[in-house]
């Protein structure tokens, strides 16, 4: 039997670890008839930082990792397209698009590892302490914590004061008013107590697209993959790729319902920004897209083509994928 070390930054009690990582590992163990065994190490138990996880898989420090490629901005520039504002509304479909995008126009982005899955989380949205966000103007002067480079930029264009801080500092910063709000998907809400610490939540009508999402990658050490017996390789292959990516995206967006319920139970105000009201946000946020395209051009890629490819792939898979559960409808 082969033992694989699975390493990630997610906490052992988190939904991602329990419903996605553990579920995936158990399925692989079962499909291999017990010939593949996993040792799971959540919460960076084997050292390093989340940013370094990808290199740990590349270098064979561990065998499989699940991490945020967007943490190292300059390293995977082309996949950042999925983190631009108002790209998606369905994590399952967008995860499929992300997988296909990397296979077709960004293949060498993850060439150092055996990529098992590429996925995104459900719709990101506003959570604010004292003021409900209905229009873009409502953001003026608010101190809002941004998750990624592109979204932090967008918050500035929308008139907010973007604040950069690591995710675990959100509860403290919210409770003391160091920030007035943050943008995260529902799924993350309970783990950083945003349901307790804010009163207002502003979702976007899926028809107009979600504010943003974040990309994830599950990758395996190449040499380890190549050393597997052919039938075990087949087991890994069957549990990776487009369908697995879609499944991870779907499960993660499904977990949004859990987070949303905590806010409902606390009788917080949940507002849906209509597709019409979203226009003003989009108009101001468009500059993020423009600058990203310019940045790609500078790096020697065809920025416009990459953006169009991502958009058309999201649209294509959106048509063939059922509307997402979780989020708004829960």
């Amino acid at each position: 039997a082969v033992t694989l070390k699975f390493h990630t930054f997610m906490a052992p009690q988190s939904n991602v670890w329990l419903t996605m990582h553990k579920a995936w590992m158990e399925k692989v163990e079962k499909d291999s008839g017990g010939r593949i065994k996993f040792e799971g190490y959540p919460a960076m138990q084997l050292g390093g930082t989340p940013v370094q996880l990808y290199d740990q898989a590349k270098d064979g420090v561990v065998d499989v990792v699940w991490t945020l490629p967007g943490n190292t901005a300059g390293r995977f520039p082309r996949i950042e397209v999925f983190e631009l504002p108002f790209m998606m509304n369905n994590a399952e479909a967008t995860s499929k698009a992300y997988w296909e995008y990397v296979q077709t126009v960004a293949q060498d982005e993850f060439k150092d590892t055996q990529v098992l899955a590429l996925q995104v989380h459900g719709p990101g949205m506003f959570h604010t302490k004292n003021k409900l966000i209905k229009t873009a103007d409502d953001l003026r002067g608010l101190k809002v914590r941004g998750p990624t480079r592109q979204i932090t930029k967008m918050l500035g264009f929308l008139g907010a004061t973007p604040v950069g801080m690591p995710l675990p500092q959100i509860p403290d910063a919210l409770s003391k008013g160091t920030i007035d709000g943050c943008v995260i998907p529902w799924e993350v809400v309970p783990s950083v107590k945003v349901d307790e610490l804010t009163k207002f939540h502003s979702e976007f009508d899926p028809a107009g697209g979600a504010l943003y999402t974040t990309t994830f990658v599950m990758a395996m050490n190449k040499a380890k993959y190549n050393s597997l017996a052919p039938d075990l390789k087949k087991v890994i292959d069957a549990n990776s790729g487009l369908e697995t990516s879609a499944w991870l995206g779907k499960v993660q967006q499904g977990n949004d319902a859990v987070g949303r319920k905590t806010a409902v139970d606390r009788k917080n105000t949940i507002h849906t920004i209509s597709a019409a009201d979203a226009q003003e946000f989009k108009r101001k946020a468009r500059l993020v897209e423009v600058e990203w395209v310019e940045d790609m051009n500078k790096r020697g890629f065809d920025g416009k083509k990459l953006l169009d490819t991502a958009k058309s792939l999201i649209e294509k898979h959106g048509k063939s994928t059922p509307a997402a559960a979780g989020g708004k409808k829960a």
Partner: protein, 439 residues
């Protein structure tokens, strides 16, 4: 080799290295490296090393440590301790044992802007010890009081020990600081009571009649103003929502530096010495961090720590008994080992065990409460024989007092420590009360 035997081997190598004067950080590094390589081979370990120093050193969360250390050095060099003690003496001087109590008050005030017990003990001793001796206090009482008073540097926020606990357990630094305030004040009062009882029960250690206390001069009064401003600015800023604890450390370091500059105490030479002092303390701590990282990775690979939590959970002993056992273990280990490395090594193993037990409190409350009782134990270890760092420091500054006298002098305070720890063990509400209040 079974996982358990491997774990024992890793610890054995570390302890053997430590016993023969190999630096603690290097002992941990060596034991961790050997354990790691035995389980994975050389290649994964060597690649792990490529990034681990960066991972540990270039961390925003940990940057609060060198900043608080720098702040402590600015405060120490800034000449604020003298006026602080004059003020405390004017307040407490009239009581029997008043100057000893004033020293404790000065330690608490200095401790409220210093994160280190060493800095607090040394700074206050340099001004309070000559005064106490001049007024006829025995070497035993004077040095014992100052060694114990120095521990208020970590008992009261900011506290390097609490910062490290917060980082290891992923708890909120400002909540832990808030939780430490009431226990820190209780510690100070408990020490004062210990002084009051000691001078009455054991005659001959303090002057029978205190001289008329030094008058409350404007100078003495002005002495506490900078401390009050720095404290209010740092903690008012953190709890008022103007900045995060790390930002608070930066604000504290710059205001302390500014105060020293305004008092005319900060020469270029002293400024450089502050950097050198920070260099030695910070590098020492972070190299231990790195060594502990290797130990912890090697131990995690054995899977023993993960299982330990489940095993202890399944024993069904009273949760409080587990806490008491851990604290007793700390007292024994702390007798020979430095307290910081002890925490770095054991918290990753003990903390999951504690969190797996049911204390009838929310998880976060348990984490904070356990942090506070561990902090008490660290304070205890700093003055308890055979190796009490604070005792060494204060005794080193008191040339004419034998070490044995200082150890005798800390006894009343050790009793106070034990009683206080028991109080918090049975009444978690005391540290948790203020936390509930701020959030």
């Amino acid at each position: 080799m079974t996982p358990l035997a491997l774990t024992a081997l890793i610890f054995g190598i570390m302890l053997a290295c430590m016993a023969v004067r190999i630096p603690i950080a290097v002992s941990m590094f060596a034991a961790g490296a050997i354990g790691y390589v035995m389980q994975t081979g050389w290649a994964p370990f060597s690649f792990f090393l490529n990034t681990q120093a960066f991972a540990r050193f270039a961390s925003y969360d940990l940057s609060v440590i060198p900043l608080f250390i720098l702040m402590g050095h600015f405060a120490t060099k800034g000449g604020i301790s003298k006026s602080l003690f004059e003020f405390a003496a004017a307040v407490m001087g009239r009581m029997k044992g008043g100057l000893a109590m004033a020293s404790l008050l000065a330690c608490a005030a200095f401790g409220a802007i210093s994160g280190s017990s060493v800095a607090t003990a040394a700074t206050i001793t340099s001004v309070a010890l000559p005064e106490m001796r001049r007024h006829g206090y025995s070497g035993r009482l004077a040095t014992g009081t100052l060694a114990a008073g120095g521990t208020l540097g970590i008992q009261l926020p900011p506290s390097i020990v609490l910062v490290i606990y917060a980082i290891l357990t992923e708890q909120n630094i400002s909540k832990l600081f808030a939780a430490a305030i009431v226990p820190g004040i209780i510690a100070m009062i408990g020490y004062m009571i210990a002084v009051g009882l000691y001078v009455r029960l054991v005659p001959g250690h303090a002057p029978e009649v205190e001289e008329a206390p030094p008058p409350m001069t404007l100078r003495a009064l002005m002495g506490i103003v900078p401390i009050a401003i720095i404290f209010l600015l740092v903690f008012g800023g953190i709890y008022g929502g103007f900045f995060t604890p790390t930002e608070g450390a930066a604000v504290g370091a710059s205001t302390t530096f500014l105060t020293a500059l305004l008092k005319g105490e900060m020469t270029l030479k002293k400024f450089k010495e502050c950097f050198y002092g920070t260099a030695v303390s910070a590098a020492m701590i972070f190299l231990i961090f790195l060594g502990a990282d290797l130990m912890n990775a090697a131990l995690a690979l054995t899977q023993v720590p993960n299982q330990l939590a489940q095993v202890v959970g399944s024993w069904g002993v009273a949760p409080l008994l587990v806490v008491v056992a851990i604290l007793l273990f700390y007292v024994v280990l702390g007798a020979v080992m430095d307290e910081l490395s002890m925490l770095l090594l054991t918290i990753p193993i003990f903390f999951p065990i504690i969190m797996g037990l049911d204390f009838g409190m929310p998880r976060e409350s348990v984490a904070i409460w356990f942090g506070i009782v561990v902090l008490m134990t660290v304070g205890f270890g700093l003055i308890a024989p055979p190796v009490g760092l604070n005792v060494y420091i204060v005794n080193g500054l008191a040339k004419d007092v034998p070490m044995g006298e200082t150890y005798r002098g800390v006894m009343p305070f050790l009793i106070s420590d034990v009683l206080r720890t028991m109080l918090f063990l049975f009444f978690p509400i005391i540290p948790l009360w203020l936390v509930g209040f701020i959030s």
